[in-house]
């Protein structure tokens, strides 16, 4: 096991990793940018080190700054959290070159799964159905040809993108013509890589993902699925497990199939395989996330497994210590992303001081947040303020507990989306477990907010 881990991230996930390190009895150093000096992780850590200015390019995205911080503080491993450098194979490689361990898959594994297009090819060869799509698009003519082959509507996607960033929906050849160049330059600007591919757009789909863990010895488990269909512009808002869209048989089959494929493809450490499930219940593999995910707490609530600790153990070369039979998922869990976004103002990100903060409590309630009264939310990073996760023996009770917890949750001084969450909870489509990924974008959030205000 490692003696000391450098936490190269911020916000709630830095705090989550710090907690896992303490649970494991290993040291931790929180690396923070100047804008996060007052961040809770840096405040609570036994050791913290400023790695650069607020600009992420010179702090959380700076490999030299992070690795140097790990070296001078005597760390033997770096936990990248999610986002930033968490799936960057170049970073993982440099970390290893300095004699440190990257907590995540090896550079080779990250490289193999770096391109979504290549990943789909690999996993499709190992038996996962994929959405009909193209290879890398050479030019506009090629794009038009491929779109005609798979059938409109299609999604134009940057190969290097993630989290829905840079994706565009195109319904006609004419739209494709105007979109292609824009997408290409956006991809270059956003990801430094202008490779694009396209795939058939499934209307009314659900987003279901399978959580897996594979150690270096080939031991592998899955931890069931998460349904992340409540999205706004491809950004997840609410996640739950188990998925209301799948039967027990279907969920078991999908998880086993995903685990077999990813293990055969040589995956290692924690990973999430994302699928789109269409109205008929067919699951199409879309991508793999080679990191801890924002929504991991709901899996932890149902399985009782500390996934961050497990991730650290696997990276340290330990055995899983669990077989599939040991993984039992109980009850129902829902997570709500509490964001500093104003639903009434087109979800504009908010920054400013949190004057009051009170986390909810009670049976099955878990709050992962870096907020505290007086905390200044910086404007440089994403808008995630925390995650409220709720567990109950069944879904209706989970919804009831969630509503009670959202009523208790107090974040004053900054506009959040708490009320939007309550409105969604009260919506019949959500109660029926029928939300699809495009619902919020199609109807807009205004009806939800209006209904919630009544």
């Amino acid at each position: 096991m490692f003696s000391k881990v450098l936490i190269a991230n911020r916000g709630e996930i830095a705090l989550r990793i710090l907690r896992a390190c303490r649970t494991l009895g290993i040291g931790a150093v929180v690396a923070y940018s100047e804008a996060d000096r007052e961040g809770l992780a840096a405040q609570l850590a036994d050791e913290a080190i400023c790695i650069g200015p607020a600009d992420a390019k010179r702090s959380y995205l700076s490999a030299p700054a992070i690795i140097s911080a790990a070296v001078v503080t005597g760390c033997d491993a770096i936990h990248p959290g999610y986002g930033f450098l968490s799936e960057d194979e170049g970073f993982a490689e440099v970390v290893r070159a300095h004699g440190l361990t990257f907590i995540g898959p090896s550079a080779e594994v990250l490289e193999r799964f770096a391109s979504k297009e290549a990943t789909r090819r690999i996993l499709s060869a190992h038996g996962l159905a994929t959405i009909p799509g193209s290879g890398m698009l050479r030019d506009e003519a090629h794009a038009l040809e491929e779109a005609a082959r798979v059938g409109y509507p299609v999604l134009i996607k940057p190969s290097a993108g993630g989290g829905g960033k840079g994706m565009r929906l195109v319904r006609t050849p004419r739209e494709l013509e105007t979109t292609f160049k824009v997408s290409r330059s956006e991809a270059m600007a956003g990801f430094g890589d202008d490779s694009l591919y396209l795939e058939k757009f499934l209307e009314d789909n659900r987003h279901v993902e399978i959580q897996v863990a594979v150690d270096r010895f080939g031991n592998a488990i899955h931890m069931g699925e998460r349904d992340c269909s409540v999205q706004r512009r491809h950004q997840k808002l609410i996640e739950e497990t188990p998925s209301p869209a799948l039967s027990d048989v279907a969920r078991g089959e999908l998880a086993e199939k995903a685990l077999r494929a990813v293990t055969a493809a040589g995956y290692e450490n924690l990973g999430t395989l994302e699928f789109l499930v269409d109205a008929k219940g067919e699951a199409y593999f879309i991508e793999i996330n080679c990191r801890i995910q924002v929504e991991h707490p709901i899996t932890e609530l149902c399985t009782g497994i500390d996934m961050v600790a497990l991730q650290i153990k696997i990276a340290a070369g330990e055995k899983l210590g669990l077989t599939q039979a040991d993984v039992v998922s109980r009850g129902h869990a829902i997570e709500f992303r509490i964001l500093a976004e104003d639903p009434a103002k087109d979800f504009r990100p908010q920054a400013g001081q949190v004057v009051e903060y009170l986390a909810p409590g009670g049976p099955g309630i878990r709050m992962d947040s870096h907020l505290y009264p007086g905390y200044e939310v910086p404007s440089y990073y994403d808008s995630l303020l925390g995650k409220l996760s709720v567990w109950a023996p069944d879904r209706p009770l989970a919804i009831a507990r969630a509503d009670a917890a959202l009523r208790e949750l107090l974040v004053d001084g900054i506009v959040t989306n708490i009320e939007l969450h309550r409105a969604i909870l009260a919506n019949q489509v959500f109660v029926d477990g029928k939300v699809t990924t495009s619902l919020l974008d199609r109807v807009g959030s205004a009806p939800f907010v209006a209904a919630g205000n009544r």
């Binding site: 150093v29 923070y32 100047e34 000096r37 007052e38 840096a42 405040q43 850590a45 036994d46 050791e47 913290a48 080190i49 400023c50 790695i51 650069g52 200015p53 702090s59 030299p64 700054a65 690795i67 140097s68 911080a69 070296v71 001078v72 503080t73 300095h98």
Partner: protein
């Protein structure tokens, strides 16, 4: 066809331009001979830190040097030499240390670390050494790549806040830089001059930066920096 470059420029004998230059020279001479001595005397006698006067399209601004522990000055200097983390303790502890009023009131500027790494001062770095803004005073080794530590201001090297070979973080305070205005040491009571630091005579009057009022103009008052420019 491109127009020949420079054809439109006024020739050196442009009469209007010559006249303008002559007027400017006269104005500067008038400012230096009449206005500045009066302003320096006024600044010396009162509690004002800065004076600005406008006259005939020109303005002159005079500022007292930051020698005395003037509370306003201390606040500014504190902001400039701001509360940087030192060492690897918890940030709040470090902030407390850095906000220590005793340290802040001294009104000193510090050279800070440009990166996380191992600090090494320049070999010839010594207390009392004169530096210009941008002068290299050491390096921080970031995984074998040397990043320069530079002085943010013109001044005199003061005490070191980090040891050679010490691990430092981004923004950490490394070396105090004392303002060159402190040069006339006769103004600093002996007990305020830290032992061994910036001994008197280290900065002779001749080295005073251009623009500083000559001592003869206001012998009894504080040094004043005059800034003249067109309003």
């Amino acid at each position: 066809m491109p127009a020949p470059q420079g054809a439109a420029k006024p020739g050196p004998t442009d009469p209007e331009r010559t006249l303008r230059i002559q007027r400017d020279h006269d104005a500067i001479a008038r400012l230096a001979d009449e206005l500045l001595p009066a302003l320096i005397a006024k600044l010396a006698s009162g509690g004002l830190g800065e004076i600005e006067v406008r006259q005939g399209g020109w303005k002159a601004r005079l500022r007292k040097p930051a020698t005395a522990p003037d509370p306003n000055k201390a606040a500014t200097a504190e902001a400039a030499a701001r509360a940087r983390a030192v060492g690897h303790g918890r940030p709040d502890e470090r902030d407390r240390r850095a906000r220590d009023p005793k340290e802040a009131e001294q009104g000193k500027v510090v050279a800070m670390s440009p990166a996380v790494g191992i600090y090494n001062p320049r070999r010839d770095l010594a207390v009392g050494m004169r530096v210009r803004a941008g002068d290299k005073i050491g390096t921080v080794d970031v995984l074998g790549v040397q990043q320069d530590v530079v002085s943010p201001v013109d001044g005199i090297i003061g005490s070191s806040l980090a040891e050679a070979g010490e691990a430092v973080e981004y923004g950490q305070e490394l070396v105090r830089i004392e303002p060159p205005e402190q040069a006339p040491m006769s103004e600093v009571p002996p007990n305020e001059a830290p032992a061994g630091e910036a001994p008197a005579g280290e900065a002779p009057a001749g080295e005073a930066p251009a623009g500083e009022a000559p001592a003869g103009v206001a012998p009894a008052g504080p040094d004043a920096v005059a800034v003249a420019g067109k309003a």
